[in-house]
């Protein structure tokens, strides 16, 4: 394509440096937000005003900021849960189910300690909270391991399996908390019993301690992929499973490992939202909403190209956008589900931008008018 005396050319990328990848990712986000402003325009709201409201509520408002940080912790854990299998070339879209199982695991511990009957129970939080964390990680890990085992052993399509497990876990939660299920609230409101205040997660300046878990997991993952043998094996499996097998890397153990780890991290996300976020402290009736939010993890993982550290700012941004989106939805009377719509627009833009990870557009000034007489624009 020619514009004036410049030539636009499409070139296949041989390599993609981290800087180039970051630029593409940032451009994708900007493009998506520009595309998304059409929703505000259709609702007859100035998009610049809407975005200012979103960002100022999410990042500069004393009510909005803690919400953003809590959502950030949740998204970062979901993103890590997606990234671990993603680096091995496998798709974990089962964070939703894994976090439900994590929540059930955490509440099972409370149930065992009798937390359902007596809310005022003074439980030793130094023992119960670690147990809840372990149970949450285990719950998620078991569900993840099913997909990993089937993938490794029989090469069963992991996308369909993790999706099926999402629905199974969704209905299991419904079974546990509704219509006389074991975890049902004694008040009978179709939600789980509430956490005894003695085992509320410790807060640091209003932020649950899970923020250290989320950040710690990303740092650990970074070192896992950059420095360790097992990380190298995971990446080798991701590049080419067949070649990895010739190199002596088990094509059974790697899928099982990555899905178990991913599931465990997603399980912690379940603990975070249902047992650590101030003001929730129960498996709420609308638990499906938190499951849906886990899909932001896929987007964060893809935009950060599987780099756990790059996922931190992305998760923070999307956490803020989804919180701010919910806020303007009420304040500016936009329709319900702005955060869902944003999820969709971001994802599809990202898919289109995948193209630029493989190709680049180059500008070249063509020579004088005489040498290149092919264009009809030239006189």
């Amino acid at each position: 394509m020619r514009i004036g005396s410049y030539q636009l050319k499409l070139e296949k990328r041989v390599t993609l440096s981290g800087g180039e990848a970051a630029i593409i990712s940032v451009l994708a986000i900007i493009f998506a937000l520009a595309l998304f402003s059409s929703i505000f325009i259709l609702a007859e709201i100035n998009p610049l005003f809407a975005y200012r409201e979103i960002f100022s509520y999410a990042f500069a408002n004393p009510y909005g900021l803690p919400l953003t940080i809590n959502r950030f912790i949740f998204l970062l854990l979901c993103t890590s849960a997606f990234i671990i299998p993603f680096r091995a070339g496998l798709w974990n879209i089962g964070m939703t189910g894994q976090l439900y199982m994590g929540a059930l695991g955490a509440f099972a511990v409370l149930f065992a300690f009798g937390g359902k009957e007596f809310r005022a129970l003074d439980l030793p939080h130094g023992i119960v909270i670690p147990l809840m964390l372990i149970a949450a990680a285990l719950g998620g890990a078991v569900l993840g391991a099913i997909a990993g085992f089937l993938k490794g052993k029989l090469d069963v399509n992991e996308i369909v399996v993790t999706m099926m497990l999402n629905f199974i876990a969704f209905w299991l939660v419904a079974h546990m908390i509704k219509e006389g299920g074991p975890f049902m609230n004694p008040g009978g409101r179709g939600e789980s019993f509430e956490l005894p205040p003695s085992v509320y997660a410790p807060l640091i300046r209003g932020i649950p301690f899970t923020i250290f878990i989320a950040l710690g997991v990303t740092v650990l993952l970074y070192f896992l992929f950059a420095k360790t043998r097992i990380g190298y094996q995971i990446k080798a499996h991701g590049h080419n499973p067949a070649a990895a097998r010739y190199a002596g890397i088990s094509t059974f153990k790697i899928p099982l490992l990555v899905f178990t780890l991913g599931g465990a991290v997603a399980g912690l996300a379940g603990y975070h939202y249902f047992a650590a976020v101030p003001g929730v402290y129960k498996i709420a009736r609308n638990y499906g909403y938190f499951g849906d939010l886990a899909f932001y993890g896929i987007i964060c993982g893809l935009i950060s190209l599987g780099n756990p550290l790059a996922a931190i700012p992305v998760a923070l941004l999307f956490g803020g956008l989804s919180i701010g989106g919910r806020f303007v939805q009420g304040k500016l009377h936009v329709g319900f589900g702005v955060d869902y719509a944003l999820l969709g627009v971001l994802m599809i833009t990202l898919v289109a931008f995948q193209f630029f990870y493989r190709y680049k557009i180059t500008w070249a000034k063509t020579g004088g008018k005489v040498r290149c007489g092919s264009s009809s624009l030239e006189v």
């Binding site: 419904a174 869902y340 969709g344 898919v351 995948q354």
Partner: protein, 291 residues
């Protein structure tokens, strides 16, 4: 009981249409994991159109058209841009899930139109579904167009050499596949369960995707599979018909998903693969780049 059988057949019709679309898609070598998203779009826009124009015909037309458009978009991503087809399919699904939640929300509630008339107890879609399965079987295995589609799915470079336009064939298949998925979504929202609620499909599209794998890419086996899953789905909604009072109704809802995993497991065993594994289109999910 008769009512139950009827409902099961209606449910299997929805699976039939969506899975047939995906089958055509995959036969040409393109994998679309996002049919649930296409179905959600077809259902939501079909529902809105039908409710605001009071015309079923327009509802189905719009549902099918948006499905075709999304199928075309998937073709654009996976054929022209050469994006990883799983990523593209995920994109279509999350787009459908996200945007329809936003678009459809003001329309939450029942459709409020007279029900579509039935022929001998069955909806017209039931007959159409069976006919379509037979027609697609015939076209795919007996006609030159079918040969063209299959060869593109098996070995695109050989097909290209023998004078077949790979790009055009794949676009044709992804668009038709999308139209069928959109139509099946419209059947759900306009006939099977004419009440709009957010993300109401809850897995229909993903089960349809799995059905294609079970069917060994044969439309007639697929028809049998959708009958089985239609019945299973209906059974999971009405467990009292078989085992009244056993387990909670929520546990029963997991049954179709558990069985899907079970069947996937079965067809992935070595025993099965060595016997029938060759049915899988060779170039499935692999982008074709002309040298």
């Amino acid at each position: 009981m008769w009512e139950f059988i009827l409902r099961s057949l209606e449910a299997s019709t929805i699976f039939t249409f969506a899975a047939l679309g995906e089958l055509v898609d995959q036969r040409s070598g393109v994998l679309n994991v996002g049919i649930e998203g296409v179905m959600l779009f077809g259902a939501t826009l079909g529902f809105i159109t039908a409710q605001s124009t009071e015309s079923y015909l327009l509802g189905f037309l719009v549902g099918t058209a948006i499905g075709g458009l999304l199928g075309f978009l998937h073709g654009f991503f996976s054929v022209t841009l050469g994006v990883d087809q799983v990523v593209a399919g995920m994109g279509i699904w999350i787009l459908g899930f996200g945007l329809t939640t936003y678009i459809g929300c003001p329309y939450t509630g029942p459709l409020g139109m007279e029900r579509i008339p039935t022929i001998l107890g069955f909806s017209p879609f039931f007959y159409a579904g069976i006919a379509l399965a037979v027609v697609s079987w015939f076209v795919l295995s007996k006609t030159s167009l079918g040969l063209r589609i299959r060869s593109v799915g098996e070995n695109p470079s050989v097909a290209e050499v023998s004078g077949i336009d790979v790009t055009k064939t794949r676009y044709l298949c992804t668009t038709i596949g999308g139209m069928l998925a959109g139509f099946s979504g419209a059947i759900y929202a306009l006939f099977y369960n004419p009440v709009w609620n957010y993300n109401f499909l809850m897995g229909w599209g993903f089960i349809a995707l799995a059905l294609v794998f079970f069917s060994m890419w044969n439309p007639l086996i697929l028809l049998g599979g959708s009958l089985l899953f239609g019945t299973l789905w209906q059974l999971s909604l009405n467990p009292q018909l078989v085992l009244p009072g056993v387990l909670s109704r929520y546990i029963w809802r997991t049954v179709p998903f558990v069985i899907t995993i079970g069947v996937l497991l079965l067809i992935s065993t070595k025993w099965f693969r060595t016997r029938w594994g060759a049915a899988r289109p060779e170039a499935l999910a692999r982008p074709y780049v002309k040298e």
